[in-house]
């Protein structure tokens, strides 16, 4: 208890304190007004939020479809695939971006194939350093986080229900909509809000794309503190980021507790 307070709460408190202390000394709201007035901050906030929301939506759709196939239309090797997804979770996120650089980078696989086939000197895939590249990487990395709770929820679904429905003449889309989706909603909500929080805090993926145009709140904290040595500004951004994600995480805890009940 005391250990945690020392190494975690005490530093956090210092961050909050420093966010009120501009370089000129004294205590004021000046860092806050400075940061809120800067367009870089507002842009980063907006990018962070829409990337996180879009990535969460993508993960939910993709994760739902993939988990549905693994659980209800099983094929030989489906168990191996779900084991593979568990392993996927233990890899660091920036590996995905590294791989995407080889696949969709300016001289990567996809562009190379295109230039070989058509003889053009540039490939069509130039989206990697834009927010879309970050979005693709985040969806790839975070979809397993949705699939795991979904697979757990699907394994508790009574197959008798499905068989009864289909013997009464319901087709597959109707069964998915009327039986599986309501059953999966708590797991979807819990997985989705976890992914939302993780996306808001994602740092490695954004850093590795090397996208100059994409700044999210975590990279803004890093840039301000390490590259510009503007500690009060970094602390302000950090406080805002913490407030957003702790708020969302609280929501996640409430949702997942209700799902467990």
């Amino acid at each position: 208890m005391a250990v945690l307070a020392l190494v975690f709460l005490y530093p956090l408190a210092l961050v909050v304190r420093q966010s009120f202390q501009p370089d000129t000394g004294g205590t004021s709201l000046e860092p806050y007004t400075d940061v809120f007035a800067s367009s870089a901050f507002r842009e980063a906030l907006w990018t962070t939020v829409w990337l996180a929301v879009a990535a969460t939506a993508g993960c939910l759709v993709l994760g739902f479809v993939l988990a549905l196939v693994i659980a209800f239309v099983p094929f030989p090797g489906a168990r191996a695939v779900s084991r593979f997804i568990d392993v996927f979770l233990s890899f660091p996120s920036f590996l995905i971006t590294l791989a995407l650089l080889f696949i969709y980078g300016t001289v990567g696989m996809a562009n190379g194939a295109w230039t070989d086939l058509t003889g053009a000197d540039q490939g069509p895939f130039q989206f990697l350093t834009t927010p879309w590249g970050v979005l693709l990487a985040e969806i790839t990395y975070f979809t397993p986080f949705v699939m795991r709770p979904l697979l757990a929820a699907f394994s508790q679904l009574d197959p008798g229900q499905l068989e009864a429905a289909s013997s009464l003449g319901a087709r597959a889309p109707r069964i998915v909509r009327r039986i599986i989706l309501p059953e999966a909603l708590p797991a979807l909500a819990a997985g989705g809000s976890l992914v939302l929080v993780l996306c808001l805090n994602e740092f490695g993926i954004v850093l590795f794309t090397g996208a100059k145009g994409v700044t999210t709140l975590p990279t803004l904290v890093y840039g301000k503190a390490i590259l510009e040595s503007d500690y009060p500004g970094a602390c302000v951004v950090a406080v805002v980021n913490v407030l957003i994600s702790v708020g969302l995480y609280g929501l996640y805890r409430v949702v997942s507790r209700r799902a467990g009940a």
Binding site: M1, F8, V15, F72, V221, G250
Partner: protein, 265 residues
């Protein structure tokens, strides 16, 4: 079985493969392939070589590997000790206090790890604790980050533990310390090792807090991979990434062997 006709089933599987392979299997294969290549400007890598691995298992990279391993091991052990201690203590508390303690311990999950890095940097760069520039600051940040996971899985296991065991031991005259050591901890061992594996994997791949903190003589592998890719050495970077993945997987495998042996006892 949701889809009955054979054709429809094949169609569903085809859609699954089209979604699954490019998104999940391809990235790992590509990193693996790139680590053996010197050029990659068409569909397949060319100029196969193992030179990147020679570079990735020598000098700077080897040092980074040991750095990562030492950091991850120390951080997981510290996190496991504090997390287990807190979970055991919380179980003895009243319901309201227990909830507060639980919420406190999962907070590092929600706080962005960059902010944890910044906070550690701010706190330990000034007296009374001057740790900036030492390896301890990295280890402390990692321990804080993974303690939440250790605490969560241990307290979940503790909640499922049958209280009859410890009551039986206590009624037979065992002291609380003896009950903890001979009854509770052995029963918790499977979840403890699972938590240790999780903490280790997370700490091995941790980049964001480390970027804020690392001193020049204590560079873990992810930072090295970032440095390599940042200066354009993508192939060396991916070889180091494969070394990182292999090391993580080997340790996870070793940890899961401990677990199976413990559950037979």
């Amino acid at each position: 079985m949701l889809v009955h006709s054979r054709g429809a089933r094949w169609a569903v599987w085809a859609v699954f493969l089209v979604l699954f392979l490019p998104l999940f299997a391809l990235p790992l294969l590509v990193v693996l392939g790139a680590s053996f290549a010197t050029h990659w400007s068409s569909v397949l890598p060319s100029g196969l070589t193992t030179a990147h691995y020679e570079a990735a298992t020598r000098g700077e990279a080897l040092q980074a590997l040991t750095t990562s391993l030492v950091t991850a091991t120390t951080a997981s052990l510290l996190a496991l000790a504090t997390g287990t201690w807190a979970a055991l203590a919380a179980a003895a508390l009243k319901r309201r206090h227990r909830k507060a303690l639980d919420a406190l311990f999962v907070l590092p999950l929600a706080v962005p790890s960059v902010v944890v890095g910044l906070a550690t940097l701010v706190a330990f760069s000034q007296p009374p604790m001057l740790l900036n520039g030492t390896r301890w600051i990295v280890i402390i940040a990692h321990s804080v980050l993974v303690t939440a996971f250790a605490h969560q899985s241990v307290s979940a296991a503790l909640a499922r533990l049958d209280p009859a065991y410890e009551q039986a031991a206590a009624s037979l005259g065992a002291t609380p310390a003896y009950v903890l050591w001979r009854v509770k901890l052995p029963l918790l061992l499977p979840s403890l090792t699972a938590a240790a594996g999780l903490c280790f994997a997370l700490s091995m791949g941790e980049l964001s807090a480390t970027m804020m903190l690392y001193p020049p003589d204590w560079t873990p592998l992810p930072v090295l991979i970032y440095a390599a890719t940042d200066r354009g050495a993508l192939f060396t970077g991916s070889a180091v990434a494969v070394v990182l993945m292999t090391a993580t997987l080997l340790v996870l495998l070793a940890v899961s062997r401990i677990r199976t042996r413990a559950s037979y006892r």
